[in-house]
Amino acid sequence: MNLETQNPQALVEAYREAFDRKDVDACVRFFADDAVLKFLFGTFQGRKHIEDWHRDRFAAEVQILRVDDLTVEGNRVVLNAIVTSRKLKRFRMDEVKGTGIFEIHDGRFREVQLGPRRGVASHLDWHFR
């Protein structure tokens, strides 16, 4: 796939397909060399750390169960989805409302933020006291 030709929405949808396949190499190719991935309380910068992050998530059996909506504003794509994972289930959460915010430049993700949907009281929060 020639990533340079993808529009932002198609790029995120293609990434999601690679994510669903648990294809680490394909997922990482969507990221710029100096990309930043922010996940919950962590920040992962550069391809090596982003590759490790994907391996960890796939090992934790992260799955996108359903995409609620996807919006595009210029080079920014916001994906609202329902996700699950083995680790989430340890927090008694079969699924959570998640949001991915993708900042895209030159056909690559420059910054990606992944976490609970904003403004939604997360059950995860109740475990932090």
Binding site: F41, A60, R90, R92, G115, W126, H127, R129
Partner: protein, 435 residues
């Protein structure tokens, strides 16, 4: 006299013994220490209920958890609508009330009585990611816009709470070593815990690698305190700049402390040990409170609301059962404080404790996550860190304290017209994390 303003500052998860004014060796808290020297300091404010939801409910209601019924974090119990809470009482007394907090997202009674409720964390996915700078960015403009009437401003800072992610400019403080030493296995016991696993997956990862040294994580806790101290400095500077210093009662406290590693509890605030309670309590009101005075008497969280109400001349409702420490702080009374404090937790484990001047007994109803013995006894006169359990060696003393605790619980329940111990009735709220 016009009513004074009240600014109630709560720091989540802040241990008293990690502040300079409580004897800590590292310079974590220069502004908080200065606040202590400008007013009064309680050396021993105990929490009858931990962690966050029970403790803040106790603060607001001025009642023991046995009475208000909120004994666990995230549990199903609700605070009775007729229970008076501090913000409602101040609203009724003519105060403009404002919270900069997010607890209303978990439990609705934390929003009662507030005309203004500012929740900076609503822009974040996780409410405890909010920083003191974000809090102040909302609180300070509110202060500048509400200068004409007496106000009650409640601020609930989260910085010392998990995740320990101070800004990078603090990362060099309070630590001398290699945080990423691959041979260091001191954090490995935490990886099996869900919150430890989440930490390992997120905030313990840096571009340099995975943080492996438990002492560095403890240093991160101190860095967060120093960051918070800077935030409180900014807030107090604005109060002073606006000319509120003389006309404002400032109260600073924490809802509970936290264990860093003691008793096998890593960076969590459960276990009714000295790490979780007592917590700091400072009050400043120039001209009305002495400067630099310290009080060793045992106080408890339910005393704080009655103290504030008496200070500002607002009648306390009968349902508010705490004891005002205002006479003690203003030297109108030499005596004060409690002979004993009964505390509860029911979030990860269900336990009661009875603390006297000399001893602490911890009595387990359900060991939950950490299990532990059915009862523990510590001689606080020789073992204030609570490291040597004497429950077997001094079984007679343990028997006597257990009987005293059970009798206290039975009498209080009978007075309240109840029969069931709420720790047993409600059960551990986060039990699922044990499986």
């Amino acid at each position: 006299m016009d009513k004074p303003n009240v600014v109630l500052i709560a720091a989540d998860t802040l241990r008293a013994d990690h502040l300079g004014c409580y004897g800590y060796v590292h310079p974590t808290s220069p502004r908080i220490d200065a606040l202590a020297s400008e007013g009064v300091l309680s050396e021993r404010l105990f929490c009858p209920g931990i962690p966050t939801h029970p403790s803040f409910t106790t603060l607001y209601a001025g009642q023991h958890p046995l009475r208000h019924g909120i004994v666990s974090h995230g549990g199903k119990a609700q605070l009775a609508r007729q229970t008076p809470v501090l913000p409602e009482l101040l609203l009724q007394a003519g105060y403009t009330t404002c919270a900069v907090d997010n607890l209303w997202r978990a439990k609705s009674w934390f929003g009662r009585g507030y005309e203004f409720y500012i929740d900076p964390s609503v822009r974040r996915g996780l409410l405890l990611s909010v920083s003191c700078e974000e809090m102040n960015d909302r609180a300070i403009p509110w202060l500048r816009q509400n200068r004409e009437r007496p106000f009650f401003l409640f601020l609930h800072y989260w910085d010392p709470h998990y995740p320990l992610t101070p800004p990078a400019r603090y990362h060099h403080l309070f630590y001398d070593g290699d945080p990423f030493d691959p041979k260091n296995r001191s954090l490995e016991p935490w990886w099996e815990d869900p919150l430890g696993s989440l930490a390992k997956d997120t905030w313990l990862r840096r571009p340099e690698g995975l943080i492996t040294d438990v002492n560095y994580v403890s240093a991160l806790y101190d860095q967060e305190i120093r960051y918070l101290d800077d935030g409180i400095s900014d807030l107090l500077s604005v109060l002073d700049e606006l000319g509120f210093a003389e006309s404002t009662l400032v109260v600073f406290l924490a809802d509970h402390g936290t264990s860093l590693t003691k008793h096998g509890i890593f960076f969590e605030h459960h276990g009714l040990y000295a790490e979780t309670s007592p917590v700091p309590l400072l009050l400043r009101w120039p001209g009305r409170l002495p400067r630099g005075a310290r009080y060793p008497q045992m106080l408890q969280m339910s005393d704080v609301a009655p103290t504030i109400l008496e200070a500002i001349g607002v009648a306390r409702p009968e349902d508010m059962e705490g004891t005002s420490a205002w006479p003690l702080f203003t030297s109108e009374a030499r005596d004060g404080g409690h002979r004993q404090v009964v505390s509860a937790e029911c979030t990860w484990q269900a336990k009661w404790s009875l603390r006297t001047e000399a001893h602490k007994l911890i009595l387990s109803r359900d060991g939950g996550v950490h299990g532990g013995p059915r009862r523990e006894l510590y001689d606080l006169r020789v073992d204030p860190a609570e490291e040597r359990d004497l429950a077997e060696a001094e079984a007679g003393a343990a028997d006597a304290m257990e009987a005293e605790l059970e009798d206290w619980l039975a009498r209080r329940l009978r007075d309240l017209g109840r029969s069931q111990d709420p720790l047993i009735e409600q059960g551990i709220s986060l039990r699922h994390l044990t499986t």
